[in-house]
Amino acid sequence: MRMEHWLYEIPLRVRSLFRRTRVEQELDEELQYHLERKTEEYIARGLTPEQAHKAAVRAMDGLTQCKEECRESRGVTLIENAVHDIRYGLRVLAQSPGFTAVAILTLALGIGANAVVFGILNGLILHPLNVPRSESLYSIERPGAFGEYQSYPDYVDLRDRNRSFEGLIAYSISEVGLDTGNNPVRAWLYDVSTNYFDELGLQPYLGRFFHAYDEHGPNSAPYIVLTHAYWHSHFQDDRGVVGRVVTLNKHPFTIVGVAPPEFRGTLLFFIPDFFVPLVNRTQVEAADSLGGRGERWIFTVLGHLKPGIAPAQAVADLNSIGSYLEQNYPKDESQMTFTLARPGFSGDTVGRPIREFVTGLMLLAGLILLAACANLGSLFAARAADRGREVALRLALGASRNRILRTLFTEAILISLMGGAVGLWFSVVLLGRLNAWQPVARFPMHVPVNPDANVYIVALALAVVSGILFGIVPVRQVLRTDPYQIVKSGSRSSGGTGRRITVRDLLLVVQVAICAVLVMSSLVAVRGLARSLASPFGFEPRNAMLVQAYLMMAGYSDDNAPAIQKRILEAVQSIPGVSSAALVDNPPLVEGWNPDMVFSDQAADLRPKYAAATAIRYKISPEYLHTAGTNMLTGRNFTPHDDKDAPRVAVVNREFARQVFGSVTEAAGRYFKMRDGTAIQVVGIAEDGKYTTNIAEAPQAAMFLPILQWPTIETWLVVRSDRDPQALAPAIRGRLHDVDAGLPVFLETWKKGMDGALFTSRVATVSLGVLGAIGAMLSITGIFGMAAYSVSKRMRELGIRMALGAQRIEVLQAGLGRALKLLVLGSAAGLGLGILASRVLAGIVYQATPRDPLILAGAVLAMLLLGLLATWIPAQRALSLDPVILLREE
């Protein structure tokens, strides 16, 4: 459009908009003038003045209609009508506050659920890492359970030999004692390769980062880069912190810089306090070197793919390095094939289920919104039917059908926007909470899901789309309205709704079906969690306290650890109320696990591929099995005499016995070999249990070794009491303080310690449970709306039936039979769908199968109860009808 054109148009439009009365007046005057002239003309032709006037109006196709068309052609009508429609819509909505509230609430639930799930999707999957060009960032993974772990020499080879990555960085996670002058405090860090920040393309917020040229062999780079959050919380934003020397596990380190605020590390859930070069690992970890080829301790290796390199090419490149490594280091390397994974989670082993779960949730949330739309659609259709007369009247008075549809749409959009706003507000609050939430006390674990513009846009779009979706339902109805018929007969023309299947019926069935799927999945989740909690852990977490003593942080070493461990154990055992206490290097289901390859006694070749099993290894004091509540099946427990000078012995679990020896009976007394060739005799066999941080794990081989034969600095105490173990905490702290005042300890109940292990199934259960509850609520409002509507429509008929002596049951049947039939139909369809979708559900939740008869029965029962509940009030209304009053009224 040309400028000149606008010069004419804009002032006119503005004038029409703001000086509406004037413009209207002019329009009126103009047409009036025309009518007068026309009337004069007709009179001149011999008509009476009245006839002439009528004829003149008719020639104009109606004065009002003509005016409306003029307004429309002025173009302002769009805006003006919108303002009108909004005012009118608000007035209509305000007239039926109940309907409005239910509609807004329904939509708020639907949109809120979607915004929350999308917020999570957005935070975890769409924008996982806050680093530049994160889309070309991949981590390297090997197939197998611990595939994301790499050894340091392998990392160096991968880094230097590959031709596909711009560079490769490595990091691991450690817990250290940070001493800034007082006693050490626990802190979490990433041990990172010195090229970490450079390859990620980050700039320091303060000071500098360390770089590849800073490292010159082991322990050559004692530098710390703080995260912005830790600098803020522990150094009070002190800009003078750069250059300050602090100690980590008693080793001096220099703080060189602070990372930018938006960078929270390269593992989504796990935000470190600071970063330290990997080459200084021996100072922060219980390790005496960077480790050999077989020691796979590096948590993740990742890097940017070079531009133009496809992931498949990179994999081929890595695999050729892998076969080179296998050929040159056959003793340590096997299965050196690689895959690429999206970074952010520890490889795809963890990432894929999370992504699948969140995607599944998004799907369910979408279903909820669909159900809400179906619900609102039928409500709107019912309202439109009720307003048939109003619509007819407006049509007769000269409103165009378009205009009426626009009014209805405006109402729908108004409701959807209000519902969307409420839903969004609710989701922002919830996401904020989720963002600040620290689900597991001992880890700096976070769910980084702060709502951003994307979330707002999606919520708004969803609101508008769903408004259109449920606003469209009554369109056909309005288009078919015949004003003449309706105004004449005084009732809706459609007359007998009869046995025909209406859109409303279909919507209700769809909605009930969706809700049945939701209810079913939440039942599946709840039952799965109940089962996983009821399944035996292989130890008794109740009434037990876990005490982690950080010997490393207090400056102890492997050599003097046994002595201090003995003193700690004795100090705790002597506390009144402690029924038993024991040492373990790492208790099950709390913080990681240590897998070791074991070989049969006859094995001469101790290469990885000849391993008889991979067993999770625990180093324990003799009291451990008893204190933890792990039952012995056969054989003997350890004694204090199983020490350094005695023959090497082990207690293994049933699964270990099965995998290595064939059965429990064959295992007793037999020998197996460790990786280094040490032969160990099995003296006892214990029950199976859960060991990793995944409650849903398959049975795993495990072995228990005497801590005196395999000294370690990793020190945990299990303290069992017959009282509330929490009450012992002050006494335990006191005694340990007496042993060594500079020893950091961390106390929590074993149950609390398992939060991390139970985290995923809890989250799954809670989210599915909430979605199920929302689904149930939607189906209640949907069925209720339908039943109430059908009763109120047939009040008069029911009254007549009762007057003619119909039984209560017949009245109920007449009033509610249809609603119940639809309910049953919908539930059946939903349950069928639920079973079909079983694989999705079973993949999400532990030990869950929707074919479980209990769940099926529960879902059927739940749907029936929901139906009863929803039809109860309309049923009461139908039964309490007084035919006399009813008939008199009509």
């Binding site: 000149e4 054109h5 010069l7 004419y8 148009e9 006119l12 439009r13 002019e26 005057e29 103009e30 047409l31 003038y33 025309h34 002239r37 026309k38 020639a59 104009m60 196709d61 109606g62 209609q65 003509c66 068309e69 003029c70 429309e72 052609s73 002025r74 173009g75 165009s400």
Partner: protein, 111 residues
Amino acid sequence: MSRPSDLVQGTLDLLLLKILALEPLNGWAVSQRLKQVSGDVLQVSDGSLYPALHKLEQQGWIAAEWKASENNRRAKFYSLTRLGRRQLEKEAANWTRLSDAITQVVRLEEA
């Protein structure tokens, strides 16, 4: 909705522009003039005349002014703007082209 059924879409604009190009007129006079010049062939109902005029005004092709009418009453007179004159030339040229083409087709001799 009343649309002139026997008028080719868009030609009403052309007619109105042309009529107003001769002299400024009010709506009533426009309708009279239409009837007069086309010898009652082109029937434009009053119901579609005014919306069309308003649309032309909105587009800046004609401008309105309140003046005394031929019988000394206040009436809204429309006149062509500069923009409208350009538009008229364009539409007239278009029309000539189109009608020539159609005439050619209609005059084809049947074999």
